[in-house]
């Protein structure tokens, strides 16, 4: 069986917010909402440390780490249990997902989720451009939404958007049931934590902290399982097949999908010739 999971190496994470914004972009997340938040583990506010500034010229007690936090895709997901209409469910590959058609907006799942991973569309969702961004349709007002592990990408053999765009190689996605996958190896090799382990939710998101891992260099947007001959212990670049980079053109010439509205200007495609 396939059982998808995510490893986040907090020793590598530089809190750059690329994953937070990649997620918004890819998943057409409305203004004012984040499915993926880069929290600061330290002071009370973003980008502030805990501890005190050293007075003796030493390195002192200041401490700060980043904890990117989205849906943890719990093995034992409390949100799934409480949904009265089975709108929240676990896919065969372990991804916890919401059927927005079924969601009645009761928000029991939000109360049940210990990770605050879920957001609710109180108002008509607002996007810029109005027709939205990324590669999934907008969700309507009145439903709950959250990280899907980018199931629409995973279904096409692509890594989640936040994983592809992490400049620190700190996010590693893969199959926890495959012992040879990088995620499995790292969970064995390094000290990893799950958030709020005492809740018994058994999240499939694991955090490395203490000793830094080599991460997983991303020169392609394909999932590890789609690549031949990748050893997570190597530098990566030689192991990634050269064709992998061609996946960027996979979309060319695809059929067009119509979306309503005309808020942002639609401009003609590029003509031939240089600039006038």
């Amino acid at each position: 069986m396939t059982n998808y999971g995510l490893v986040i190496d907090q020793e590598r994470c530089i809190g750059c917010q690329a994953c937070a914004v990649s997620c918004k972009q890819e998943n057409n997340v409305p203004m004012g909402q984040f499915w993926n938040r880069v929290l600061t583990e330290g002071g009370d506010k973003i980008d502030t440390p805990s501890g005190g500034y050293p007075e003796d010229g030493g390195s002192g007690s200041l401490d700060m780490q980043y904890q990117p936090t989205a849906c943890q895709h719990c093995e034992n997901a409390p949100c799934v249990k409480v949904c009265p209409v089975n709108a929240t469910y676990t896919r065969d590959d372990g991804i916890v997902e919401i059927d927005y058609d079924k969601c009645i907006g009761c928000r029991y799942c939000m109360a049940a989720c210990p990770y605050n991973a879920r957001v609710f569309n109180w108002d008509e969702p607002d996007h810029m451009p109005e027709e939205g961004t990324g590669d999934v349709a907008a969700r309507p007002q009145g439903v709950v939404e959250k990280c899907t592990f980018c199931s629409h990408r995973v279904d096409e053999g692509l890594d989640p958007a936040c994983v592809v765009n992490c400049p620190a190689d700190a996010r590693i996605f893969g199959d926890l049931d495959d012992e040879g996958s990088t995620v499995s190896k790292y969970i064995n090799e390094y000290e990893t934590d799950q958030l709020l382990e005492d809740r018994g939710t058994n999240p499939k998101t694991h955090y490395i902290s203490g000793e830094m891992s080599p991460g997983r260099p991303q020169t392609s947007d394909k999932m590890e399982s789609e690549l031949d001959d990748v050893s997570p212990w190597s530098d990566g670049s030689e192991d990634v097949p050269a064709e992998a980079s061609e996946s960027d053109s996979s979309g060319s010439g695809g059929s067009h999908h119509s979306i309503e509205g005309d808020a942002a200007p639609h401009v003609p495609a590029v003509g031939s010739g240089g600039d006038d």
């Binding site: 907006g105 210990p114 007002q141 190689d169 695809g254």
Partner: protein
Amino acid sequence: MTDNDGLYRRDVLKAGGAAAALGLGGGEFLQGLAERGDETAASKRDPGIESYVGQNDVIQTVCSPNCRGKCPIDVHVRDGQVKKVEPHPPEDEQYKRACVLGLSHTQRVYDPTRLKYPMKRTDWSPDEPNPDGRGPDAEFERVSWDEALDLVADKMQSLKADFGPESVLFHVGFGNYGQSGQAFSRLASLFGSTQPASTIDTNVGRGFNRVTGTGFYLPSTNESEDWENANTIIVWGSDIFSSQFQMDASKVLDAVENGAKLVVVDPVYTTTASKADLWLPVKPGKDVHLALAMMHTVFEDGTYDEQFLRKRTTGPALVRKDTGTLLKSSTVFEDGSDDKVVAVEQGSNTPVELEPETDGPYALFGEYTVDGIECETALTRLRDHVADYAPSKVAEQTGVDAENIRTAVRWLATRGPGGIAPSYALGRYKHGHIFGQTYAMLMGLTGDYGQHGNIHAHHSGGATLSTGGWSTPEDADPGPSVRFSDYPDAMIDGDPHKIRAAYSIESNMMGNQFPDRQRFREAIKSLEMYVVADMHHTDTVQHADIILPVPHWFEQEDIVSSWGSHPHISYRHKVQEPMWEARDDYYAIRGLAERLGFGDYFPETKRELLRELASRDDAIDFETLSEQGTQKKQNIPIVKFTDAFPTDTGRIKMYDDDAPSEEGVTFDLPRPLEDRTADDYEKADEYPLMFMQKHSRFRIHSQYEMLNWVREVNPEPQLDIHPSDAKARGIEDGQYVRVYNDRGEMIVKAKYNEAFQPGLVNTDQGWWSRDYLKGHHNDLTHNEVSEIGQTMSFYDVRVAVEPAPDDLDTEKYETDNPRGTGAETSRAGGD
């Protein structure tokens, strides 16, 4: 978070009893939501997750503000709209990159601040410029491109006839790294206008240059692909993981993972410091003292690299005791030269001429008499000079524990190749060039030049398209150049000559980014015509007489240099046609050239221009570049400083007998000199806090200020202040404060931040006027320039802080606006 309660809750942190905190935080949040009413039960439905994967057209282009990314990116377009941005793996895939800003371009392309049409200030005319009409209340009217270009060309011609071409300034900033600037400079050269001497905000490289013969803002350094070979990386005054290197972060992290030691020297506990093996919390302005203490340790430990010193430095060169100058070969040998210097061979004490890149048994230390002239080696002088700077002696002054000073430099000296990555920030102090000199010599002692794993700056050199002087045609008679910092004197007082009109591209400097902003405002007011081309309605644009709307990068075709970044040249393909009436800068430049009589010098289309420029660079082939999107310049050396240094002797100068001096201090050897950080600075009591304006991950200078998504995380300017400094002034966390000095003021929200050294406060730079409740960070900075450093000293600034007045209107940051910006729509937007 101060930033966005609810939205960015941190109550799921695993550390510190998170479960308990969680119930509370989660509960509050739900309650908050419930209060907002329950009328919104799902009423509308879309099908589940509807995917568009594979349905986009994907066009490769380049993001290129003045950052260290220059990221080739893929833009996904669907239904005539930009839907997303992804990094585009360049020819050398390890340089795949993009940051939070480049990934948010959808927010920039469609932002209401974009300029749509050419505009003219309503009350401006060539003969009646009405300078007082400029500023926040200026009104604009739409004109056609032809009208705009006619007005500009006619005014330029009449100024040229009456006052000479140098009365017009062609100002170009660093807002883009395409080729329009080449055409702009070409037109400026042909016209004979004044051109800028680009002396902006950092002078570390100038000091480094005195030692090694190379370096300007900063020296070059090994390309980032080589950084993983470093065994010790001392990042000095730079938050490289937030700015400069975040897109290459994995390369530093890989080095650390391989066992490299990461040292961060910074008064601020930055993101980078949080990753360090050792953090040295230096006091602002005390960096030279600290580096001298490191030299002291190297001498004391005897860990200097003797072979390197003999082969590649003037360490063994003899200094005459009578004159303090280096003993010249011509003094000792009949056929000796004036450029060459002399050492003695160890043991025999025989004088020998020092050749570049030549090893020999030269004595490194000692006093010797040659032809009756008493001398000592340069290294002896340096050692004796730094004898005064024992770590234990400077510990208090620098704020850094003595043992930590020793540890840091011992790692550098004894763990194999490594380096020091100093920042621009060090050069934002008036005399920052001295640090450049100091660390260049320190790395000479440790022998860290020319090998894999050596680092000399906080970003790499990257690749620039070589266009072989195209911007200065042979038959042109270029006008004078004036330093950025001297603009106001030229515009207001006619010193060195009067500038009466300015045409500005790729820059928001005059209205936002230059220090002592009010003085620059005054300078603008003294002009008869101010023409500004930009993508957005910036503060600078608001002060213009003629506004030329430039399309977003996705609507331009260009070749982009990767200066300071990665070793590729990239092709900017047009993703879509320009929206509204925005036109490439090249359209305006060529249109003006035609009107000014230089049309023949400019190819008709931008693509022809690009072809012409690319043909001048032997390492680039236009077709390959255009098809591949990127081309790695194979002639860029990955490891720098492998050959003789471009100094007189071909060697690193460990003693400078031709050194400049300022304020009575001579830099034959590195000597600390401070301006406002000096302990006895005269106004230190009146303005007790040092004020810096850090580069954050949320803007590149003033670009991307408008991004909705980023502003949800970082909504408004803040003052980072240590809680002890805040409490002493009765300031609470999150309270608005007035920050002021004798030049101006600003009002921002205080952010208690233990990361900041007491006595040092910060507002991240790049915010626009509209983001402040009052004033602006550059109303506080000054425009005083060191004659040696020549650059603006943004961080060498003192301020006082007090609670903001009670009657403050804070509404713009209190409204329930998910976009988090208090910004009005731009007045010159047009429609």
